[in-house]
C-alpha cells in the first residue's frame, strides 16, 4: 500500500502531497522535510529506491518535479514506478504537456486526477481512458451545476487556506483570483477587479 505521495520541485518546494495514512501536521512536515532533503541530495545517476525507516521510498524525477512515493516493505518498487508514470501520463493528457505551473495553478485538478487513479493507497483504475472519462464527467458536472451569484465564502476561505503561502504573496493572489473565478463560474479575468471589493487586502 502506498503510504503517501509527494510532489516537490527541484528547489525543494512541496507542490502536492497526498497522505493515505493520517498523520498529525507536525509529523507530516517532518517527514516531508526529511525526504525532500534526502532525495534532492541524491545524484541523478542513482537508483530510485531508498530504504527509509521501515518504508521504501520510490521517487522519480520528471523535468523539474520529483514524484515521491512511500510504500511498505513488501511492495513492488517497479509497480510503484509504474503508478508514478501513469500519474504523470494522466496529468500530461489532461493538461496537455503538463508543466510544473499547471500543477501549481490547478492543484485541485491534479488532486482529483490522483484520487481517480488511487484510493486509499491502492491503485484504483489502471485504465487511463477511464480515469480521464471520470474526470471529464465531473468537470462537466461542475460546469453545469448552477453557479450562485455570490461567491461562497467558505469555499473561498478554504481554497485560500489551501494555497496560502506567505513567502509568495503574488502567486498567492493569482491562485486566490483563480479561486474566485471558480466560485463564480466566470473566467478568471473578470475577477481581477473584484479583489479590492472583497476586502482581502494583500
Amino acid at each position: 500500500m502506498l503510504q503517501f505521495m509527494l510532489l516537490f520541485s527541484r528547489q525543494g518546494k512541496l507542490r502536492l502531497q497526498k497522505w493515505y495514512v493520517a498523520h498529525p501536521d507536525k509529523q507530516k512536515k517532518k517527514i516531508t522535510r526529511e525526504l525532500i532533503t534526502t532525495i534532492l541530495a541524491r545524484k541523478p545517476k542513482m537508483c530510485s529506491f531508498l530504504e527509509w525507516k521501515d518504508l521504501k521510498i520510490v521517487y522519480k524525477r520528471y523535468a523539474s518535479l520529483y514524484f515521491c512515493c512511500a510504500i511498505d516493505q513488501d511492495d513492488n518498487e517497479l509497480l510503484t514506478l509504474e503508478i508514478i508514470h501513469r500519474y504523470v501520463e494522466l496529468l500530461d493528457k489532461y493538461f496537455g504537456s503538463v508543466c510544473e505551473l499547471d500543477i501549481i495553478f490547478n492543484f485541485e485538478k491534479a488532486y482529483f486526477i490522483l484520487d481517480e487513479l488511487l484510493l486509499g493507497g491502492e491503485i484504483q483504475e489502471t485504465s487511463k481512458k477511464n480515469v480521464l472519462k471520470a474526470i471529464a464527467a465531473q468537470d462537466l458536472l461542475q460546469e453545469t451545476s448552477p453557479s450562485s451569484s455570490l461567491p461562497d465564502w467558505n469555499l473561498t476561505v478554504i481554497l485560500h487556506a489551501l494555497t496560502w503561502d506567505p513567502l509568495e504573496p503574488r502567486k498567492h493572489l493569482r491562485v486566490f483570483l483563480k479561486t474566485m473565478a471558480l466560485v463564480k463560474g466566470n473566467a478568471s479575468e473578470d475577477c481581477c477587479s473584484n479583489e479590492t471589493t472583497l476586502g482581502f487586502g494583500y
Partner: protein, 1190 residues
C-alpha cells in the same frame, strides 16, 4: 497544504462539504482529505453528511465522499458507515463498486469487526465483470492476506484461476505477491505454482512482473527447499534473469536484482556464488545504494577459500571510498563478513587480527567500539592467537598518540580499551612488558575518555605485578623497586581525574603499590602474591545465559520474601546489581569496571572460594540453591561456574552446554586441521539445564492494525451475537439478499412517497413505477445471472421442483449450509492441492473437484432457489400471457418482490431497526434528513418501513382480490397500519372503492377527523383493468394484548360497457397479537438487564410434543411471523425478544430436545404472553397450522 496549518478552517470545510453543489462538495472533500486526521474533532459531525453523500444519486458525489473518507476514516466513522459502504459494494456502477471495494480495506483497518460480514461480498468481487472492480478486490484481499495469510488459504484456487487466465499485469503482480505470502503456509501450493510462474518469467516482457515472479519463486523455493529435487532448474532460471537485471544499465533494475539475489543467497548460496564477479563489479558502481546492496550480497558469498581475497578487495575499496558513511558501512561489513557464524570462514586468525589492526588506521570511523570488541572477542576465544594479538596490541599502545588524534567523530581510540585490557590480561605473553607499561603511563593518556583510563589503571597494576614477579625471579630487586617508584610518581595523574571511577581505581592502585614498596623495602618477595590477585581466566558468557538460568523447584519469585513491600523494593535493587554483574560477558566494559570496585581483600576471598568450588560438583547450582534468596546466591555461584569451566577448558575439553555451541565447535575443530592455529571457539557459557530454544513469539507490534484483522473467515459465527450491531446483513446470508433487501427498502419508501402525491399524478407515477420495477427486475436478473454463472462454474447439481415452501426452509437452514460449504471449501483446497493432479488445468480441476465432493441438495444456494422461482413464475404466466399480460407482469414483479422480502425480512427485522436507532443517536450536522430511517412517515396514510411484510389473503371474488399485511408505526403506541393491496382481476374499470370496518371497543379504523364513526373510508384511487394498487389504513387500538378479529366490508363499482354495478365483499380482518410487536431491541444489553430486573412478572410455558421443523427453521419462523429477534442461540436453544408497541416486553426461551419443543415465556403482561404463545403454537403446530403463506 503547502505545509501551513489550516486546522482553523475545519468547520468551514465541513460546511463546504455539505453543500449541494458538486463544485463545492468536491473541493470540500479534497480539503478534508488533505487536512483532517484522527484528532480532528469536527470529524464526528460529518457522519450523517457522508452517509447522505454515499447514498447520493449522483455517482460522483458518492465517489468524492469515498475518496475523502478513505483519507480520514476513523474507527468511529468506520463503524457508522461500514454498512453504507458495504451497500455500495453491490452498486450497479462499476465506478462506485471499485471505490467501495478499496474503501472497505481502510474500514477494516479501523473497524476489524466489519471484515467478517463484508468478506463474502468482497470475495464475490473477485469475479466481478468489470476489470477495475476485480483488480480492486484483488488489491484489497491481497493486502489483507499478506498480513494474515492463513485465513485466506482457501482462496488460493480462485486466485490461481485468475492468475492463469488474466493478462492484467497490475493484477497479476498483486496475485503473485499474495501467493508469495501463502506458500510458506502450504508447501504444496508452491509446487503447483512453480510451473505457471516459470512460464510467466519466460514469457513476460514487463520487468515489474518478472521481478515479482522471481520474488515469489524464491519464496516458494524457500518453503519447499527440502524434498523437491528438480527445482534447481527454476533457481537457475531466476539467477539467470537476475543477472540480466543486474547487468542492465538501469540503476533501478540493478538495485532490485541485487536485492532479489540476496534473497536467493539465503537458501541457495551456491548458485549465487557463481556470480561473484558481477557482484564485485557492482562494488564499483557510482550509486552508493547499489554498492551497499552488493556488500550485503558479499556477506553471504564468502567461503573459507575466498574470504581473504574478498576482504582484501574491500580494504582496497575502503581506501578509495570518499564518503565517511560508506566507509563506515564497508568497515562494519568487513567485520560482519569475517565474524559471521562464529568466525566460520576464518582459517587464519593472525590474518584477522592484522586486518583489525590495519583497520584502526582508517580515520574518522564511528565503529571503534566494534573493532575493540572484535579484538577482545578474538583474543579471549582463540587462545592460540593470544601471543600474536598481544604483540599487536602492544604496538597499538605504543602508537596510542596516533589514535588519540583529532576529530570528534573519531571513535577509533576505543581500540585502546581493548589493547590495554589484552596486554594486561595476557601480560605473560608480552615480549617487553615493561616497555608496554611505560607506554601506558604516558601523560597523553589523560586525554582519553574516562572508561578507557579506568581500564588503563587496572591493567597497569596487572602489568606491574607481572613485571615485578619477573624481576624478582631474576633477583633484580632494585629494578622492581624503581618500577614501583615510577608508578607512584605517575599514578597521581589518574587520581586527579574528574571521573569518579578512574579516581577510585587510581587511588586503590596507588595505595596498593605504596604498600608493596614498603614490603619490598623490608626485603619481602611480593611478586607471587601480587600475581595471585589476577590469576584465573575470564570467560565469555553467552548473551542469553541469564535468561536461561532455570528456575529451581519450589521457587516462586512472585511471593513476598518479607512482608513489608518497602523493603522488598530495595532488596530488588541489590539483586539487580548482582545480576548485571554476572550477566554480561566478563570481557565487556561493565564488568571490567565493576571488578576493581571490590576491595582487594574481597577479591582474594572470592578467588579462594572459587578455587574451592572448582573441586566440587559442578551441578551444585540446583542442589544448593535455597528457594528464597536464589537471586543473590545463584548469581554469585554463577561466577564460580564460570571459573569452573575455565579450568576444564584449559584441558582443551571445552564445555559446551548449548547445542549450537557444540556444532560450531565440531566445525571449528575441522577447521583447525587446516588452519594455522589450533582454534577453539566457544559460543559462550550457558547455565545448567538451560535450553537453547529460540524464543520466537509473535513480535508483531501491538499497534499494527492488521493484528486485529486476524480473523478466521471460514469459521462462521454461531449466532447473531457475533454479528456487530451495525451490520444489516448477517454474515450468514449470501450477498444477494442484502442488496435486494436494501434496495427494496429504498424503493418502497420511494413508492410510498409517490403514493402520497398520487391523486395529482397518478398515471405518470404508475408508469414510472413500472419502469422502476422493471429496472429492479433487471437488476435482479442481472444478479441472478451472475450467480448462475458462478453456479455453472461450480457445476452444482440442480434439483428440480423446489416449492416456495422448501425455499423458505432453505433460507432457514442457511446456517448449516454455510457451515457445510465451508467444510466443502476446505476439502476443495485439499483436493486442489493434492499432488496428483497436474498443475496446468485449473478449470478442469475445479470441475473435478466439485464432482468429487457431491453437494447435498440442501446445499443449494438461496439464489438458485430464487432463480427457480422466477422460472416457475415465467412458466405459469405463459398461458395467461395472451390476455392478461400486463397484469401478470405487475403481479409477478410484486410477487417477486414479496418473495424477496420473505427471504430477507427476518434479517431486516433483526438488524435494520437497530441500525436506525444507532444512526439516529449519532450526532449529525443539521442536514436535510433524507437518509433511510429518519424520514419515516408520520401520517397513517403513508407507508412506514415495515419490520416485516407478510401479505395474507383478506378477501377475494371474481373481480377483486385483497391481500393485507400489518405494520407497526415506530413512534406510535396506539396505532398500527394495515396495508391492503387491491388487485383488479376483471377486465373492467373498477372505481369508488370503499373500505369499512365494524369497529370494536378496542380497535377502530382511523377515518379522519370529519367523518362519522360508521362511515366507510374511500380508497383514494381507481383500478383500471388488471392493475394493482396499495392502500393503507390506520387503526387506533387501545389494548394490544389480545388478537383481534374485525369484520368489514369492501364495496366497489365496476364500470362495464353496459353500465356500472356495485359489488360488495365481506371480510374478516385478523389482527394477531404479533401485529403489535416490534421485534427489535435498542441495545443488546437490555435483554439481560430485563431478565435480571424482575419486571417480567408474567410467566408461561408452551410445550409442543412434536415439531416437524428444524430448530433454526422454527426460530426463523417465529421471528418472521411473530416479529421476534433472536438474542442468542446456542445449539438447540435460543432466546428471543420482542416488545409490543405499548412497551410491554416479551422474552422467550426456546429449547428443543429431540422433537419436543419447550418455549418458556416471560413478559411484563401475562395476557399478552399467553396470546403470543397461542399464536406461536398455532404457527408451529402442523395439524392446526393452515399455512398463512399464499
Amino acid at each position: 497544504m503547502l505545509g501551513y496549518d489550516i486546522s482553523w478552517a475545519a468547520f468551514n470545510i465541513i460546511e463546504v462539504m455539505s453543500s449541494t453543489k458538486f463544485t463545492f462538495k468536491r473541493t470540500g472533500y479534497l480539503a478534508a482529505s488533505q487536512s483532517f486526521h484522527n484528532e480532528t474533532e469536527v470529524l464526528m459531525l460529518t457522519t450523517n453528511m457522508i452517509r447522505k453523500d454515499l447514498n447520493s444519486q449522483n455517482i460522483y458525489d458518492a465517489g468524492a465522499a469515498m475518496t475523502g473518507l478513505s483519507c480520514f476514516v476513523t474507527p468511529d466513522l468506520a463503524r457508522d458507515l461500514a454498512n453504507d459502504v458495504m451497500t455500495l459494494l453491490s452498486s450497479t456502477k462499476p465506478y462506485l463498486r471499485k471505490k467501495a471495494v478499496l474503501l472497505m480495506y481502510k474500514i477494516f483497518l479501523c473497524f476489524p469487526d466489519a471484515l467478517r460480514p463484508a468478506f463474502a461480498r468482497l470475495k464475490d468481487k473477485l469475479e466481478d465483470l468489470d476489470p477495475g472492480v476485480q483488480s480492486a478486490a484483488v488489491n484489497v484481499i491481497c493486502e489483507l492476506a499478506r498480513k494474515n495469510p492463513k485465513n485466506y488459504l482457501s482462496l488460493a484456487p480462485v486466485f490461481f484461476k485468475l492468475m492463469t487466465s488474466s493478462t492484467n499485469n497490475w493484477m497479476l503482480i498483486k496475485i503473485i505477491k499474495l501467493f508469495g505470502a501463502l506458500t510458506p503456509l502450504e508447501p504444496r501450493l508452491g509446487k503447483k505454482l512453480i510451473e505457471p510462474l516459470t512460464n510467466l518469467i519466460h514469457s513476460t516482457s514487463a520487468m515489474s512482473l518478472l521481478y515479482e515472479c522471481i520474488n515469489t519463486v524464491i519464496a516458494v523455493l524457500i518453503s519447499i527447499s527440502s524434498g523437491m529435487p528438480n527445482h534447481s532448474a527454476s533457481i537457475q532460471l531466476c539467477v539467470q534473469k537476475l543477472r540480466i537485471l543486474i547487468e542492465d544499465s538501469d540503476q533501478n533494475l540493478k538495485y532490485l536484482g541485487l536485492l532479489a539475489m540476496s534473497k536467493i543467497l539465503k537458501t541457495h548460496p551456491k548458485s549465487v556464488q557463481a556470480h561473484k564477479d558481477l557482484v564485485l563489479q557492482c562494488l564499483d558502481d557510482k550509486d552508493e545504494s547499489i554498492r551497499l546492496r552488493a556488500l550485503d550480497l558479499l556477506y553471504g558469498m564468502v567461503s573459507k577459500k575466498n574470504l581473504m581475497e574478498i576482504v582484501k578487495k574491500l580494504m582496497l575499496h575502503m581506501d578509495k571510498a570518499e564518503g565517511t558513511n560508506y566507509r563506515d558501512e564497508l568497515l562494519s561489513k568487513i567485520i560482519d563478513i569475517c565474524s559471521q557464524n562464529n568466525y566460520q570462514y576464518i582459517t587464519n586468525f593472525e590474518w584477522y587480527v592484522s586486518i583489525l589492526v590495519e583497520i584502526t588506521r582508517i580515520e574518522g570511523t564511528k565503529h571503534g567500539a566494534l573493532i575493540a570488541s572484535q579484538m577482545l572477542d578474538v583474543a579471549i576465544r582463540v587462545p592460540a592467537i593470544r601471543s600474536f594479538a598481544v604483540s599487536q596490541m602492544a604496538v597499538l599502545l605504543d602508537n596510542a598518540h596516533m589514535l588519540v588524534g583529532n576529530t570528534q567523530r573519531n571513535s577509533i581510540y576505543e581500540v585502546l580499551y581493548a589493547a590495554a585490557w589484552i596486554c594486561g590480561e595476557f601480560a605473560e605473553m608480552l615480549s617487553d612488558p615493561r616497555g608496554t607499561l611505560e607506554a601506558m603511563l604516558k601523560p597523553k593518556v589523560t586525554v582519553l575518555p574516562p572508561h578507557i583510563q579506568g581500564v588503563y589503571v587496572q591493567n597497569i597494576v596487572k602489568l606491574y605485578s607481572r613485571v615485578v614477579a619477573q624481576l624478582e625471579a631474576e633477583d633484580n630487586k632494585e629494578e622492581a623497586e624503581a618500577l614501583g617508584e615510577l608508578l607512584v610518581e605517575k599514578l597521581p595523574m589518574f587520581v586527579q581525574n574528574a571521573n569518579l571511577e578512574v579516581q577510585d581505581r587510581a587511588c586503590g592502585a596507588l595505595q596498593l603499590i605504596k604498600q608493596l614498596i614498603k614490603l619490598q623495602s623490608k626485603g619481602e618477595v611480593i611478586g607471587e602474591e601480587l600475581q595471585a590477585l589476577f590469576s584465573g581466566e575470564l570467560n565469555p558468557v553467552a548473551p542469553k545465559a541469564q535468561k536461561k538460568v532455570p528456575v529451581p523447584e519450589g521457587l516462586d519469585l512472585d511471593q513476598w520474601i518479607n512482608e513489608p513491600p518497602s523493603e522488598s523494593s530495595s532488596e530488588e535493587e541489590v539483586r539487580g546489581d548482582i545480576f548485571v554483574k554476572s550477566d554480561h560477558r566478563m570481557i565487556q566494559q561493565n564488568d571490567v569496571h565493576k571488578m576493581p570496585e571490590l576491595t582487594e581483600e574481597e577479591l582474594e576471598k572470592r578467588r579462594k572460594a572459587r578455587k574451592q568450588e572448582q573441586a566440587n560438583n559442578p551441578h551444585y547450582l540446583k542442589a544448593t540453591t535455597p528457594s528464597g534468596k536464589s537471586g543473590l546466591i545463584s548469581s554469585d555461584k554463577y561466577l564460580q561456574v564460570t571459573g569452573n569451566t575455565s579450568k576444564s577448558r584449559k584441558t582443551k575439553k571445552t564445555r559446551k552446554r548449548s547445542k549450537k555451541g557444540k556444532s560450531v565447535e565440531s566445525e571449528s575443530d575441522e577447521d583447525s586441521i587446516r588452519s594455522v592455529h589450533v582454534v577453539t571457539i566457544t559460543e559462550g557459557e550457558m547455565p545448567e539445564g538451560a535450553k537453547s530454544s529460540d524464543d520466537d513469539e509473535d513480535e508483531r507490534n501491538s499497534n499494527d492494525p492488521h493484528k486485529a484483522l486476524n480473523i478466521d473467515l471460514e469459521e462462521l459465527p454461531l449466532n447473531n451475537e457475533d454479528n456487530v450491531q451495525s451490520h444489516p446483513v448477517s454474515p450468514l446470508s449470501t450477498n444477494a439478499p442484502g442488496k435486494v433487501n436494501l434496495k427494496d427498502e429504498k424503493k418502497k419508501k420511494r413508492r410510498g412517497e409517490k403514493e402520497h402525491k398520487e391523486k395529482t399524478r397518478e398515471k405518470k407515477d404508475k408508469s414510472r413505477e413500472k419502469h422502476k420495477k422493471k429496472k429492479q427486475k433487471e437488476e435482479d436478473t442481472d444478479l441472478v445471472s451472475s450467480q448462475l454463472i458462478e453456479e455453472k462454474s461450480k457445476e452444482e447439481p440442480v434439483t428440480n421442483g423446489l416449492s416456495p415452501e422448501s425455499a423458505d426452509k432453505n433460507e432457514q437452514t442457511e446456517k448449516q449450509k454455510n457451515a457445510e460449504n465451508t467444510k466443502g471449501q476446505l476439502d476443495d483446497i485439499e483436493f486442489w492441492l493434492s499432488p496428483n493432479d497436474s498443475s496446468q488445468r485449473p478449470n478442469s480441476e475445479l470441475g473435478a473437484k466439485v464432482s468429487s465432493s457431491p453437494v447435498p441438495p440442501s446445499d443449494l444456494n438461496l439464489d438458485s432457489v430464487k432463480v427457480k422461482q422466477e422460472k416457475e413464475e415465467k412458466m405459469s404466466s405463459k398461458p395467461e400471457k395472451t390476455k392478461k399480460k400486463k397484469k401478470e407482469k405487475e403481479r409477478k414483479s410484486k410477487k417477486e418482490k414479496k418473495k424477496v422480502r420473505e427471504h430477507h425480512d427476518s434479517l431486516l427485522q433483526e438488524d435494520s431497526p437497530k441500525d436506525k436507532a444507532e444512526y439516529e443517536e449519532a450526532p449529525g450536522i443539521a442536514t436535510p434528513s433524507k437518509e433511510p430511517g429518519s424520514s419515516l412517515a408520520q401520517t397513517p396514510m403513508t407507508p412506514s418501513m415495515p419490520p416485516a411484510s407478510k401479505y395474507r389473503l383478506l378477501a377475494e371474488d371474481k373481480n377483486m382480490k385483497l391481500i393485507y399485511e400489518t405494520r407497526v408505526l415506530p413512534n406510535s403506541s396506539n396505532q398500527i397500519v394495515v396495508s391492503i393491496i387491491f388487485t383488479n382481476q376483471c377486465g373492467y374499470h373498477v372505481k369508488e372503492l370503499e373500505f369499512n370496518i365494524l369497529d370494536t371497543l378496542n380497535t377502530r379504523l382511523a377515518r379522519g377527523t370529519d367523518g362519522n364513526n360508521q362511515n366507510s373510508v374511500k380508497v383514494p384511487f381507481q383500478l383500471p383493468p388488471g392493475t394493482t394498487n396499495e392502500g393503507q389504513f390506520a387503526f387506533d387500538v387501545d389494548k394490544v394484548v389480545m388478537p383481534q378479529m374485525l369484520r368489514g366490508t369492501f364495496t366497489y363499482m365496476i364500470v362495464t360497457d353496459g353500465g356500472s354495478t356495485h359489488e360488495k365483499l365481506d371480510f374478516k380482518l385478523h389482527l394477531p397479537v404479533s401485529a403489535y410487536f416490534i421485534g427489535s431491541m435498542y441495545k443488546r444489553d437490555t435483554f439481560t438487564e430485563l431478565l435480571s430486573s424482575g419486571d417480567l412478572s408474567a410467566k408461561n410455558t408452551l410445550i409442543l410434543e412434536r415439531v416437524d421443523y428444524e430448530f433454526s427453521h422454527m426460530l426463523s419462523k417465529i421471528c418472521f411471523h411473530c416479529h421476534f429477534t433472536v438474542v442468542e442461540q446456542v445449539a438447540l436453544s435460543a432466546s428471543l425478544y420482542s416488545r409490543s408497541i405499548q412497551g410491554d416486553h416479551v422474552c422467550l426461551l426456546a429449547k428443543q430436545v429431540n422433537s419436543k419443543l419447550t418455549i418458556d415465556g416471560k413478559s411484563t403482561n401475562s395476557q399478552l404472553l399467553s396470546s403470543i404463545l397461542d399464536e406461536v403454537k398455532i404457527l408451529l403446530n402442523p395439524t392446526e397450522n393452515v399455512s398463512p403463506c399464499e
